[in-house]
Point group: C2
Chain length 449, copies 2
C-alpha cells in the first residue's frame, strides 16, 4: 500500500507556538525516548516501524515542503499543491502523481492519512489491514473508525449499518455525522458509531475513474496546471459521502486529535516546561514556555499558559473554540520560523520615525546546511557569530567565520552562509527602509568555488 500523507493547517489553534509557518504537526512538543518529537515525526516513526514509510508521499503546499524535509529528511517525497485548496484537490493531485510520475498501477491500493493526529503504535498495524478489508468487502473505500472512549463533540462519527461479527472484522457504513453535540454523540455511540479518523484506503483506479466521471482530468500535469480551478471541497464531501460501497475497520485503541492546548498538556509528564514556577495553590495549571525568561503562575488553578516568540496565551482548560478568531486579530506575523536550513527567532522589530526598520534575529543553521546564495536590495545585514564554524561567501569571495567575528553584508551584495562545524548560531540585525521577506533575489552558487 502506498501512503498519501496530508499535511495542512493554518496553525492558529495552537497559537502562540504554532503559526502559519509552523502548523501544529511540526511543534516538537511530544517526547520519545527522552527526546522531543513533533506529531509529524511521531507518525513518520510509527509508519516506518510498520513498514509503511517506504512508499509514502507527502501532500502539502508551499512552505510546508521545506519544513517536512527539515524534520523528516531531504529525501522525503513531497507532492506540492500549486496553491492551498482542500483535501479533494490535494488527494486527487497526489493520486494522479502516483500513477503518472511514481509508476503506480490502477490496481494498487492507496492509503490516506493526515499527519496531525495522535495514535498508539497498534493503529498502524490496523492500517496495514485496510487492503485486505477492501478485498474481502468488495468496497470502494475502507475507513478506519476508532471505538469512542467517551461522548465527544470534537469528532465526526461513522455510523455502521451492520453489527460486528466474529468472522467479519469490518462493518458496512450507513452514514456520517459531522461533529454532533454531546447528547447526540451519546446516542450515536449507543448505536455503535465510530470516530472518523480521516484515515482510509482505496484502489487507485477508483479515484482516477471518479475524477473522469466528474469531468475532471486524471492526468497529473493537467491537474497541476489547472489546480486553481478544481473544486475547493473536502474529500469526505466530494468522494467518501458519494460512495455507496463503504466499509469501516473498527479500531479499539489510542487515537485522538491533539488540537487544543488541553489535549496536549494531558500528554505531558510535567506541569512546567521551560523556565518558570507554578505555586502550590495553582492546581492543575500548566506552563509551556519557549522564551528565555521565566513564566510563573501564582495561585490560579486550572489554566494553561503558553509562551513563545509569537506571544503569550493564558487560557482556561475547557475552552478552545474562538481562539482562531482572536489570533487573527492580534497576530504580528511569525516571529519563530523553522526552515529547511534551521530556525530563526525575531528578538525585536523596531521602526524609527524616519521609516528605517531594524529586525534583530537569533539564527541557527543546522550542521551541514546553508542558506542559499542571494541578495537583498533594500537592507543591510550584520551577523555576529555566537557558536559553530561557518562558511560565508560574499560576492564570490569565500571565508571561514568563527565565534566572535562580525560580518557586515551591505545591500546589493550576494551572500551565502552555511554551517561547517556543528550548528552555526549568530545574531542578525537587518536594517533598511524595507525589511521584508520579498526583498530577495536568488542566484545559482558560482561555479568557480
Amino acid at each position: 500500500m502506498r501512503m498519501i500523507l496530508l499535511s495542512g493547517g493554518s496553525g492558529k489553534r495552537l497559537w502562540p507556538l504554532s503559526n502559519e509557518s509552523r502548523p501544529k504537526q511540526f511543534l516538537t512538543i511530544l517526547r520519545h525516548d527522552e527526546r522531543p518529537e513533533s506529531m509529524l515525526q511521531r507518525i513518520w516513526r510509527q509508519l516506518s516501524e510498520a513498514n509503511l514509510a517506504g512508499e509514502a508521499y507527502f501532500s502539502t503546499s508551499g512552505t510546508q515542503a521545506e519544513l517536512i524535509r527539515g524534520q523528516i529528511g531531504a529525501d522525503a517525497v513531497v507532492i506540492e499543491e500549486p496553491t492551498r485548496r482542500d483535501t479533494f484537490p490535494a488527494i486527487s493531485l497526489a493520486a494522479a502523481y502516483l500513477h503518472d510520475q511514481a509508476g503506480a498501477s490502477r490496481d494498487e491500493i492507496v492509503g490516506v492519512m493526515p499527519v496531525d493526529g495522535y495514535a498508539g503504535d497498534e493503529f498502524f498495524e490496523h492500517l496495514r489491514r485496510l487492503p485486505s478489508i477492501l478485498e474481502q468487502s468488495g468496497s470502494d473505500i475502507a475507513l478506519m473508525g476508532a471505538v469512542p472512549t467517551e461522548p465527544s463533540d470534537k469528532y465526526g462519527y461513522i455510523v455502521p449499518s451492520s453489527s460486528p461479527s466474529p468472522n467479519q472484522p469490518y462493518l458496512r457504513v450507513s452514514s456520517f455525522v459531522e461533529k454532533p453535540d454531546l447528547i447526540r454523540s451519546e446516542a450515536l455511540i449507543r448505536e455503535g458509531a465510530l470516530w472518523n479518523c480521516g484515515v482510509f484506503a482505496f484502489r487507485l483506479g477508483f479515484l482516477l475513474d471518479m475524477l473522469e466521471q466528474k469531468g475532471l482530468s486524471s492526468n497529473y500535469e493537467s491537474l497541476s496546471t489547472n489546480y486553481a480551478e478544481l473544486p475547493k471541497t473536502s474529500f469526505d464531501i466530494a468522494v467518501v459521502e458519494q460512495t455507496r460501497q463503504l466499509s469501516v475497520l473498527p479500531y479499539r485503541g489510542e487515537w485522538r486529535d491533539l488540537g487544543t492546548w488541553d489535549s496536549l498538556v494531558r500528554e505531558r509528564s510535567s506541569e512546567l516546561s521551560g523556565p518558570g514556577y507554578i505555586s502550590e495553590a495553582s492546581h492543575d495549571s500548566h506552563i509551556i514556555n519557549e522564551l528565555e525568561i521565566p513564566v510563573s503562575i501564582w495561585n490560579v488553578p486550572d489554566i494553561i499558559v503558553v509562551a513563545g516568540p509569537d506571544g503569550v496565551l493564558v487560557t482556561d482548560r475547557q475552552s478552545s473554540t474562538g481562539i482562531k478568531d482572536m489570533v487573527t486579530e492580534i497576530e504580528i506575523g511569525p516571529r519563530f520560523e523553522e526552515r529547511f536550513w534551521g530556525k530563526q527567532t525575531v528578538l525585536s522589530h523596531q521602526q524609527a520615525t524616519s521609516g528605517l526598520q531594524t529586525v534583530t534575529k537569533r539564527v541557527v543553521i543546522s550542521a551541514g546546511r546553508f542558506i542559499s546564495y542571494h541578495e537583498h536590495q533594500f537592507r543591510k545585514e550584520v551577523w555576529t557569530i555566537v557558536s559553530g564554524v561557518g562558511s560565508v561567501c560574499i560576492d564570490g569571495i569565500m571565508q571561514t567565520v568563527n565565534p566572535g567575528e562580525v560580518i557586515v553584508v551591505e545591500s546589493g551584495t550576494k551572500h551565502y552562509i552555511g554551517a561547517v562545524e556543528g550548528d552555526l548560531e549568530f545574531i542578525e540585525s537587518q536594517i533598511g527602509h524595507i525589511v521584508s521577506e520579498t526583498d530577495i533575489i536568488r542566484y545559482e552558487f558560482p561555479d568557480s568555488i
Copy 2:
C-alpha cells in the same frame, strides 16, 4: 521645612516589571495629563506644586541615585548611603548632612517621606502644616495619619490617646500597632486609630541630640565613614517608638500603598496596556504588557498578567504575599535597566558550549546624554544604529554615527557613545568569555577633544 525623601526597596513585590535595578517607585505605570508617570515623578510633581521640592534631599543607596537623577533631573540632590542599611541610619545620615553640608540650623524643621506611596494632592497641603503642629503641640515628632477607609492588614496603625476636637487639629499618640489582622484592624478603627503613612516631621536638633544620647556621632563625615557599623534598624523602632511627645495630624483623603499588582491595576483606566487581547468571559482580568509580542487572556476571570523583559507573571487578584520568595527563586537578573543615560533591555543571552557568551541588547541613550568613556577587557561590542544621531569616540578618535551604521568595539578599546540629535537607539551584541557588569575600566574623557 526641608524634606528628606526616602527611596529604597528591593523591587521584588512588583516583579516582573520592577527589579533590583528598578524598584516600584521608578515604574512609569501611572498617568498624568495622558503621559506616563512613576510614583517618584508623581510625588516630586506634588511636592513642587506644594512648594516643598526646593529644599528636598533624596536619601538612597548606590544605583538608585542614577535612576533618581534620570527621572527627576541631574540637579536632584542625593545623599547616598555608603551601603544599604535601614531607615534609622539613612535618616540619621541625611540629618547630619543637612546640618553639616547644607547649612541647616538645629532649629529647622525636617520632614521625612517615602517616595513609593500614592496620595492625593491635598495630602501635600496637610504636610505643610506639620511644622505648626510641632510648635502648637510641643511634640518632638509630628506624624501624618490617614483616616482608614476600610479594615486593612496591609498597614501599620497609629493609636491616638485623645479624641479630635474642633480647636485642636492634632491628636496625641498613645501607641503603634504593626500590620494587625483584619479583625484587630476593625477594632482599632473603632478606637479611632489611623494608618501610619510613614510621613513625619521633627526639629533637626531633636534627632542630632538623640544620636549623641545613643553614643553615636552626629557628624556627617564620621557617620558616613562608620556607616556600616550603625544599627540596621528602622527609624520607627529606633526613634519614633522611643519618643514620648508624639502627635499626629489626621488626614481624610486619598492615600494608599501601591505595593501589589491588584492595588496598581485599580488605578488604571484600561484593562489592557500593551499589545494583547482579553476575551469577554475574562471579567475583571488585566494585562500589563511591556513586551513587543501580544499577550492574551482567554476565558480566565479575575487574574492579572504582567509581562516584561524580566519575565511573565500570572496571578490571582487577592494574593500578594509570597511572591517575593518565588522571585528570589526564579529571577534571572535584571533584563531591563533604567540608567541615568537612558535604558537598556536584554533581548537574548546565549552561552555556547565553548563558554563564549553573547548578550544582545536594545539600548536607548536619551537625547543629550552619553555613556562615559570606558573599556572592557574581556568582551567585544557590536553596535547597529537604529535611530538618532550619535557621537562616538574610540581610542580618542571621534566620529558621528547615523542610522544603519555599524560600529565594532574590540575588547581593550576605550569608547564613548552619546546621543547628539534625539534619542539614540542601537542594537548591541556583546560577545566574550566573560560578559559581566564588572568588566569595566572607566577613564576621564581625553582633554584634547
